[in-house]
Every structure is written in structure tokens, then in C-alpha cells.
Symmetry: C2
């Protein structure tokens, strides 16, 4: 695969200069029209299907507070089954803002969710870790998690931190959220997330985010400072802790994303339209609840609709079916005027060719669907069971290219862009390297990769013949050893640390989930 | 990277059954609206720029026959510079059909060029070969070339044979076209191509295609049976042999594709709009010539506009700049009502992650631009300097997914698709695996990969832990050893063989190009 020794150190030296050649922090905006596989009647068919589910079949909410809220709003509640009519659902969905913001402790990292912005989050929640030194899958540790947080901070193209980038299984579950949020809030200054897995976790994380930002209670609740993502337990069910967290965050005016787990053929119909219909119904039921708790609550609809391997039941991602389901969901989100979340998902076990075609398909589906938040946009493998730093860095190269792709200047057609004068000057026997028109523009004209090799085979071979995954691994080591955490007032850091100590002394949280 | 011995034979056995699980031959049609980065005024700016180039600056034609033809048509010809006014160009371009066909020796492999069809061609013209056994870059041989032709025939998603899938450098250039065309016409039954590199080559290939199809002269010329692709020598120049072949094929009513070689910052302006403008002018000048030779000649416009690495001058492909240039070219092709060609290009040296993100970007740009013919859609590496069978097979997995993606059934929203009855039946506590709705559909519901691994990490590891590139290599060996050439009447094969012998006795063709 490569000539390990020859040229290795030369290569590292060369890339050292590249270490900082990344794009500046920016919030890219989708400038393309969305890809719309459905015509108006197709959108209506899915909408009507979702409304029939909500009106006639109902969604189970295994949460008594939610059931009370729905009952009070006039829904038909029978045991845990909630049925709500179209008029009410549409009235409530209409109260959700089409665009909202999240402001983390560093206000320059403020995000706008909606309004065609396309924001990238790191991989979230894999229980396992793989890297190119190990070359095996092992349970995640706090150090792995910290390193992935460092990558999340280092890369400007990562806009938000989803869940734990890998589960640190070496930290007891009762206090894991305290340690990881401490790491997240000290190693990064970007928007972060609370798992809706029990009231104590949710409340602890909200309090830590408040402390880290130096926010008063009033400031914290004045607009979203963090967010949660909940998954329905498809088909047609919302579990207790997810909905508990959902209500708690709604009460405190934080960001709310609901992502049904609708794998077609398993937890949802085998037809993509059927799976999307069910997903939309499950999502809207949670949006309706949030609007009952707080009219105007900041909600987004996520999609995780994909197909399974019908031979094994295993989920697949980045497939043609996944892409179309994502695009269809995008059409429905525009119909409801709600921001949308999708994923940078793949099912490949290692960061190889398959991982990239699946991820690339997922990322293009996100763009095509008008997605606003891409979860797992960097670092995910094996359907979310593995986090990998090499995959993370490879994904960031793809994300940067998307950012560049969205720059309106790239498709400018001013007189200067058309460049007739330069074409005339160069004529039929010259070249453009030396042209004034080129000289004035060349440093900024094109996307500059930090990981791709653009050298020819011979030069690449002389550098050690290193494949993408290993180049990524070398870069990972360099980034981690060079990493500098973002500024944080020492008194705030101490306050966070004290909070963690206090809550650990109190025993952390129950772990009977 | 893998556990080489454990599970290898089991894995081969498993995939053996997969060997034939590919999609049937079909001509996919783009059902998505194109991505249009330019508004109407942007399209007009590029069109007007191209017209100014053609009217005021002119294109060099290093071919006296072409100069005579242009002169007769009223163009301003000064030495080798040809200027033509917008009225004439648009009148001539208007004579080119928006859709045309190519019928190879097997009429069931007939292709429609245009009308939203998206057709895939194999890699064409690399001088070098790389495979996973060699793990190095070596000059191509006839055996390499034959093996890549076998892959081109084997995979139903490959619709046409471009140039030689690798240059067989072990065959003397004077007779190379005879041997490779013999191989192409006996190992495949798909549409094929003639290089416009000297009159003898072009005439020999046309004659061999005629013989292989059992066509009379009249039948051969009644509509296209093969095609050529020419490149302009950008900036603003068409060389002698390319235009000679162009005229010869136009006279005989064969397919004509012109692809300017407009790398932004090198042979074209550093701005993408400028590079596209120049490319369009160069392409239209050839289309105009073809229409003067034969009004209604079957033409398509190719794009090869990309950026270079401004540090080294090396070309880059599959970049954000490449994607936008391709989409812009698509808008202009629709403006002129001409079919379009683009490429499945990448610059990576080996079939790794980078190769796939670049290729995936190129393929998505093709879809987004409304491309009709994708050259180099399988097997290309290092900016076209290397052909690789592993990359070929990996690309075919991506191409099949695109075919599946384009199936209208995938986004159906009939009552059966929405599946309310199934959702009701399964309710909140079941799953869809056993549902009648699923059982009736599951075998055909989802794309089935032939190369992707959808097993979990542990099962994949038990199978040998084989990365995509190596799985592809193993499959390559299996396909080659199983390969059966398509039917060909033995008398036709003998006639072809005799023609090759005769032309070799005559000394082949001059090699002073």
C-alpha cells in the first residue's frame, strides 16, 4: 500500500505548513435550488398521510406530563395514545419559527438555524472508536472523546458539537455527562447539546452551559444557548426520558430537534414515501408538544429515514433510498416552514472508498434537501457504531469543499469574470499562467485542499506513497499535539469544575435507564 | 489493514453468489431538475462572451480543409484564424439535433444521446495502469487493455466504450488501433469510438465498426454507429488531425463530441465563467464546422473545464470549481439545445478515499448539469494518467446507485406507497419485517450493492477485514476468469481478423504524430 519509510519525514514536514491552511469560520448558505422528487400532489399525499396517522392512528407518548398537556389542548388521549386533529397540529406547527439561533459561550460562534444556512456537526454517540494505529474497534474512552472534541474545535468547518463524539465508556454513566460536558465546554467554544436521558442530565447540562457562557438565568432563557436532539422510538412512539428532556428544554427556551428513527422495512414501511410519512407524523407530534409547552419554541425536524439490508435487517446509509427520503423530507419541511436536520451517514466499517461514497451521497442529499443542520458530518463509521479521527479529517476535507462550492463568487459572471480581455491578450499561442488577469486572482481563485494529494504519482510516491487514510492519521497526530484550547475565563473554568465536583459528590445521576 | 488469511476463502465464496447481482442493462434518465448556478443574465453573459470570441478574436483551425469550408460559408479567415458572426454560428448550431442515437453491432445496446438520458463510458486513454497486485504505476499493455474491455462489457452500467481504456504501449502505435479495435469489437458489443489521430486510423476504425455490425456502406451512414471525441488545443485552437477526423466522421454521419481542454488558470482564464466562456466558443466553432460539412450532423458539447493547482500547474478534478463549471456548461448546452458530455474525473493516485470524493463530486456535477454522456465514468485515476481495474469496479458501484436513484418508482406516492394500512396494522409495538406490505415488496424494495459491505464490523472482520479496494481487486480477478465474450458471428470475426491482417501487411498507419 505504501513505502513506509522512504519520504515519510519529508512528507510530514511538507504538510506541516498545510496544517493551518483551512477555510475561516463561516456559516455557508445553500445557494442551489433544492432537488424535489415530489410534485405538489406528492407532497400533499405525504402530508395527508401524516395527518391521518396523527388523527386516526395516534402516537404513543410514554410520558404522563406530555399526556396531560395534550389532554388539556383537546387531543384524544387513550392510555398513552394521543390523537390530534390536523387543524390543531397545523396551528401549533405554524407557531414554530422558521429560523432561530443558538448562541454558545463564544458569541462569535452563534448559529442561525434555518434561512438556507447549512451547518455541520461532529459525529455523535458512537460507543466505539477506531483509528489507523489501532486498526481495530474498541470501546471509546475519555481520551478518545477529548481528542475528537479537539478536532471538532480545530476545524472551522465544524459548527456545532452534537452528542459525545464517542461514548467514554471508561467514565461511569452516572457522571459521564459531567466530565464530557466539562471537556466540551473547555476544549471547544461551539454550540453544544444535551442528551435527553433523564432530568438530572438535562438540568446539569443546561446549568453547565449557563455557567460556561457567564449567562444569568434570564439571559440563558432569552434565546437558545444549546440544544437537544430526541429520537422517537419508531414506530409511533415517544419514550419517557426523551420527552422529559424535550419539555424541559422547551420550558427553558432551548433548541429542539426531533429525529424519528424510521428505517424503512424495519421500524417503518418498506416504501420510502411510507417511511417518510411516518417520520413526519412522529416528528410533528413532538413539535406540537413543544409549541403547547412554549408557543414559538425553537424546533427542527430531523430525518433518519433509510433502508435496511433485507437479508440481515442491518441499516444502510448513503444509499439511493436514503437520498430520496432525505430530499422528500426536505420538501415537507419547507411545506411546514421548519428547519431541517439530516446526517453525514455511512455504514462502512473503515474509512475507505465505500465510506466516502456513502458519506458523499449523504452530504449531497443534505444539500439537495435544503438541510440546515448536518449531524455526524465528520467522523462517523459503521452506521454510527464507530467514531474515527481519520474519517473525521477526511470528512472535513469534503465539508470545506461544500463551503467553497456554496460561495456565490465562484459562479460570478461580471465582465471581469468573463475575462474577454485576458482571452484576447493570451490569444491562441500563449497560456494564462502569466496573464495579468490570472496574477491578480490566482492566490484566491481556487479551493486549496489540506488533505487531498494533487501531486502526480511519482512525486506522491517519493513522499512515501501515503494513502488518504494514513495522511489523515498523520494529520490527526499533528493537530492533537498542536492543539490549543479556546479562551475561557479561569474563574468560569473553576466554577464549572466546582459544579462537576459538587454533582459528583451528590452521586451524579441514576443509571437505570 | 486486514487479516489476510482468516476468512478470505469464505469471503470469496460468499461474494461468488454476488457476482451476477448487478442491475440489468438500462438507459437511466435524469429525473431531477438541473442545478443552475447562473440566472438568465449569467447565461447570456457567457453566451455573449463566447460570441465575442468567435466574432472578434477568432479560433485557429490548423486544417486547410476546415479553413476552406469556413471561407466558403462567409467567415473571415486570416491565415489560420477564423472569425464567424453570431448569426451564422447560431444558425449552424440550430441545425444540430438535440437528440441523436448511436447503434453498435448489438442493436439492443443502442444509445440515445440527449433527451435527459445519462450514459456512462469507461475510462479512456490513460497511458498507465495500476492494480492492487502491482501496487505501482506501469505502462499499459494489451492484456491490461483487454481486461478493462472485459470489465466494460461485463458491467451493465457501462453504456459505451470511449477511447482505449488503457494505452497498450506494448503494441506498436502504427497498428495499435487495429488490435485494440479488434479487441473492442470482439470482447464487447457496446458503442465504441475512433480517435481522430490521422485519417488512416479514423477510416480503419469506421470500416471495422461497419464490418462488425454487418452494415452496408449505406446502412453505416444512415445514422451514427460509433463516435469520436476531439479536444481543442486550448486556448482557441483546433489541431489538424482532430479536425480531420471530425470532418471525416461528419461526412459519414457518425457521432461527434468536442471537448475543449480548458483548465482555468492555465489554458483558460482563472475565473470559472471565463474558462467556460472560452470552452463554449471553442466547442461551438467545431459544431459550426460539422454543420457546414453535414447539416444536421450529430454533435455534443463536452466540458473538461477545471482548475489547476496554482502552485504546480497540475490539473485538479472533482473540485468545487469543476462542479460549478460543469453545471454552468450544462446551462449553456440547454441554451443551445445540444447534448452534453462531462467526466467521472479525479486526480487521486490510488483508489482511496480522495479518489472517491473527487469522483463522487464529478458524478454529482454530471447529474446536476444534465450531462448526457459521462466519459471516464469507471476506472480513472491521476487526472487520466492511470487506469485501474479496482477503481473501475468501485466506480460501477457508484454508477449503479445513480441508476437506482433515477428510478421514478423510488419516489412514488401512491396510496400503496404511503402505506397507511401497514402503519395502522403494525401500530406502536410491532415492526415491519413481517408485515404483508413489506413481504410483498422487500425483494425489490432497495438497491442491493455488489461491492459495498453492509455487515457489521465483527462479521466483516471475520470475513477477513477486507477494505473496499481489495474487495474490488478480488472481484476483478473473478470477473476476468469468468468472462464470456458476447456473441459474434464467426464469419464477421474472421472478416475483422482479415482486415486487421491486411492493414498490418500494408504497414498500418504513419506514426509521426
Amino acid at each position: 500500500m505504501r513505502n513506509r519509510d522512504r519520504g515519510r519525514s519529508a512528507n510530514i514536514k511538507r504538510r506541516k505548513q498545510h496544517l493551518i491552511e483551512q477555510m475561516p469560520w463561516c456559516l455557508p448558505k445553500i445557494i442551489d435550488s433544492p432537488t424535489e422528487p415530489l410534485d405538489q400532489s406528492g407532497v400533499e399525499a405525504i402530508h395527508n398521510g401524516a395527518m391521518r396517522i396523527l388523527e386516526d392512528i395516534g402516537i404513543e407518548f410514554l410520558n404522563s406530563e406530555a399526556l396531560e398537556i395534550f389532554k388539556k389542548a383537546g387531543c384524544i388521549v387513550k392510555d398513552q395514545n394521543v390523537r390530534m386533529d390536523e387543524t390543531l397540529v397545523m396551528e401549533l406547527v405554524g407557531k414554530a419559527p422558521s429560523t432561530w439561533s443558538i448562541t454558545p459561550r463564544n458569541s462569535r460562534r452563534k448559529l442561525t438555524v434555518g434561512n438556507k444556512f447549512l451547518l455541520f456537526g461532529n459525529v455523535s454517540s458512537p460507543p466505539n472508536y477506531w483509528d489507523y494505529t489501532l486498526k481495530k474497534k474498541i470501546p471509546g474512552t475519555r481520551e478518545h472523546c477529548q481528542n475528537l472534541l479537539k478536532l471538532s474545535q480545530y476545524f472551522n468547518c465544524i459548527h456545532f458539537i452534537g452528542g459525545y463524539p464517542v461514548e467514554p465508556v471508561d467514565v461511569h454513566a452516572s457522571v459521564r455527562h459531567l466530565d464530557v460536558l466539562f471537556d466540551t465546554l473547555t476544549l471547544t467554544d461551539k454550540v453544544c447539546h444535551a442528551y435527553s436521558l433523564g432530568k438530572e442530565r438535562v438540568e446539569d447540562v443546561m446549568e453547565m452551559v449557563r455557567i460556561a457562557g457567564g449567562f444569568s438565568m434570564g439571559e440563558f432563557e432569552s434565546d437558545p444557548k444549546m440544544f437537544t436532539n430526541i429520537n422517537s422510538t419508531s414506530p409511533l412512539k415517544h419514550d419517557y426520558p426523551m420527552i422529559d428532556g424535550w419539555i424541559r428544554l422547551a420550558k427553558k427556551n432551548q433548541g429542539l430537534i426531533v429525529t424519528p428513527f424510521t428505517l424503512a422495512g424495519a421500524m417503518a414501511p418498506v416504501t420510502m414515501a411510507g417511511a417518510v410519512t411516518q417520520s413526519i407524523a412522529e416528528a410533528l407530534s413532538a413539535v406540537a408538544l413543544a409549541q403547547l409547552v412554549r408557543p414559538g419554541a425553537s424546533c427542527a425536524v430531523g430525518t433518519f429515514t433509510s433502508n435496511v439490508d433485507m437479508k440481515t435487517g442491518a441499516p444502510a446509509f448513503g444509499t439511493p433510498e436514503y437520498m430520496r427520503a432525505t430530499q422528500m423530507t426536505g420538501q415537507l419541511c419547507r411545506f411546514y416552514n421548519l428547519p431541517m436536520r439530516s446526517s453525514g451517514a455511512c455504514v462502512a466499517t473503515v474509512p475507505d472508498g465505500q465510506a466516502i461514497w456513502e458519506t458523499s451521497n449523504s452530504l449531497w442529499a443534505a444539500i439537495q434537501s435544503g438541510t440546515n443542520l448536518i449531524y455526524h458530518a465528520a467522523g462517523w463509521l459503521e452506521g454510527g457504531l464507530i467514531a474515527s479521527p481519520e474519517k473525521f479529517i477526511m470528512d472535513c476535507e469534503m465539508l470545506q469543499q461544500i463551503q467553497r462550492y456554496m460561495e456565490p463568487e465562484l459562479v460570478g459572471t461580471t465582465e471581469d469574470d468573463i475575462a474577454l480581455q485576458a482571452i484576447k491578450e493570451v490569444g491562441a499561442d500563449g497560456h494564462f499562467f502569466g496573464a495579468q488577469h490570472t496574477q491578480e486572482r490566482y492566490t484566491e481563485a481556487f479551493y486549496q485542499p489540506f488533505l487531498s494529494n494533487w501531486k502526480n504519482f511519482e512525486s506522491w510516491e517519493a513522499d512515501g506513497g501515503i494513502w488518504t487514510v494514513e495522511r489523515s492519521h498523520l494529520l490527526f497526530n499533528e493537530i492533537i499535539s498542536d492543539f490549543k484550547p479556546p479562551n475561557l475565563d479561569p474563574s468560569i473554568k473553576a466554577e464549572l469544575s466546582d459544579f462537576v465536583k459538587l454533582r459528583k459528590r451528590e452521586g451524579g445521576v441514576p443509571t437505570d435507564f
